[in-house]
Symmetry: C2
Subunit: 306 residues, 2 copies
Amino acid sequence: MRAISQDTVGGPEVLKEIELPRPEPGPTEVLVRVRAAGVNPTDWKHRAGAAAMLGEPPFVLGWDVSGVVEAVGLGVSLHKPGDEVFGMLRYPGGHGAYAEYVTAPSRHFARKPANLDHVQAAALPLAALTAWQALVDTADVRPGQRVLVHAAAGGVGHLAVQIAKAHGAYVLGTARAAKHGFLRSIGVDEPIDYTTTDFAETGRDVDVVVDTIGGDYGPRSLRTLREGGVLVSLVLSRLADLGPGTARAETVLVEPDHHALTRIAELAEQGRLRAGIDTVLPLAEAAKAHARGESGRVQGKIVLTV
Amino acid sequence: MRAISQDTVGGPEVLKEIELPRPEPGPTEVLVRVRAAGVNPTDWKHRAGAAAMLGEPPFVLGWDVSGVVEAVGLGVSLHKPGDEVFGMLRYPGGHGAYAEYVTAPSRHFARKPANLDHVQAAALPLAALTAWQALVDTADVRPGQRVLVHAAAGGVGHLAVQIAKAHGAYVLGTARAAKHGFLRSIGVDEPIDYTTTDFAETGRDVDVVVDTIGGDYGPRSLRTLREGGVLVSLVLSRLADLGPGTARAETVLVEPDHHALTRIAELAEQGRLRAGIDTVLPLAEAAKAHARGESGRVQGKIVLTV
C-alpha cells in the first residue's frame, strides 16, 4: 500500500511516498481503508523533530482518520466491514494515517457522522477530542458557565467554542478583529480582539479557560478565573504556582476515547459541531499540506485525501 | 520492583519472581502502585501457551489492576497522585499487573469504587468489562428483555447477571443445582440446571444469550432466540451459519474502556455489582493461584495482593 514516510526529521521535503505492507488487524482491532487523514500541528512538529511521541524516524505520521472498515480482527462487534468510521490513532507500535490502510483497536473509532463526508469527518477526531477532554472530562462545563477560549478561531479553539455552546455555556473568545464574524457564526457570545483589549481585564468571573497558546497566556488567564475556576492548558507550558484555595490549572493531552467520539458524532449529526476546512490535498502532496500548515495563515483544518 | 515473570510457557511452576526496573509514565499515562491484581482464565491460558496475545516469553501476566496512582505523565488530568483507581491493561509493549508498578494510558483506569477494597476492585475490570461490552455495547440490552447467561455462577457469568439485572432484564442462568441459591442471591430469575434440563427447550423467546462456554452451546443457544435476538459469544468458537432474517451472533473480546469502567464503578457503589472472591493470595504465590484457577473448583475470582 502507499504511505507517506520520512527517514529523517526536517522540513516538509523529508516526506516521501513509499510502499508498505498492508497491516493485518489483530484481536479487537479493525483494519480501515483510509479515505481522508486530518493534518494537525502535532504532525509537523513531529516531522521536524520538535515533538517526541514517536521516537526516531522512519515513521508514518497522522493521527486523524476517516474511512471504511475493510476487515475486523477477532472479537470485534462494534464495527463491521463496510462501516464508515472516524477515529484517532494511538501509536507508536503501528503507523499513522498518511497511508491507504491503518489498524487500531475497535474503540479508537466510532461511526462516522452520517451528514459529514470523509474530509469533514477526518478534520474532527484529534481536535474535537482535545476540546472535549478539556471542557467535559476535565472542566466538567455546565450550562450558564462563562468559558474563555483562546485562539477561538483556531483548529482546537473553534471546536471548543461549539462544544462549550452545546453544553449551554456563555463563550468568550479571543481572536483578531478580522475573525470576529467567524467567531459569531460559530456561537461566540463575546469576541475579544487581543490586539486592542487585555483579556485579563474582563474581570474575575470566568469558570473555565481553554488555552491553546501557552507562554504568558496561562498565568494571565488565571487572573480571569473565579474562585474554583479551571484553566485547562493544551500546551506544555509552565503554569504559575496557584497557591491554595484559588483556581486550579490542568494540562491535557488528547487520548483516543470511543465514548467521547460517539458524543462528538452526535453533535455533528445535530448540526451543532463542524470543523472548518482550509485546504484539501491528495496524500501525495503531504509536504505541501505541511508547508501550508506551518505558514500560520490557515483558517480551519488541512485534510489529505487517500 | 518485584514482578512475576516466566521464561517459557508451561505449568504454574514456570512463574518466577524477578526484579524489573520500575516503569516511567509516558505522556497521557499513569504510573500505578499495584495493590491487587485479578487473575483470569486468560492468564493461565497465556502462561501455558494456549493463547497468543503476548508473543513469546518472557512476559509478565495480569490484566486486572487495583491500586494507587503514584505519578502521572504529561497531559493527564483524569487522575492525580494518591488517587485509588482500578482498570484493565492492554499490552504487549509493556508488562502485566503481576508487579509492584504498572503504567497505562490514563483512560484505561477509572476511580476505584469507594465501597470496595483493592481486592474486590481488582476482581472486576476484565470480567465486568467483558460482560458490559457483550450486554450493553453489543446487545444493547433493554428493560424487560429476557437474557440467558450460561455458566451464570462463573467469573464473567455472575457479573453479566448483575449487569443485566441493573438494566432491567429478566435473567435466566444455567448452572448446577448446587449453585442455584447463589444464582438467586445475585438476581437470577430463572435458574436452569443444565444437568437435568435442556436449556434449548425454553422456547424461542430469549432476546440475548451470553455464552462463555462455546462448543455446542453457541448453536444450541441460537434455538432459544427470538427473531432479531442476539447471541454474544465470549469464546472463539465457530458459530453455525445463521442464514438471513433470523438471530445474529457476535463474538466479543474485551477492550479497556474508561466510560464503561466508570459505569461499572457506579453500579458497584450503588451495591448492584460485586465480584465473588474465591481466593486471595500474595503475589509470590501466583503459581498456587494459577493451580487453583485451573482446578475448575473455583467459585468466584482469584486475586493476588501486591
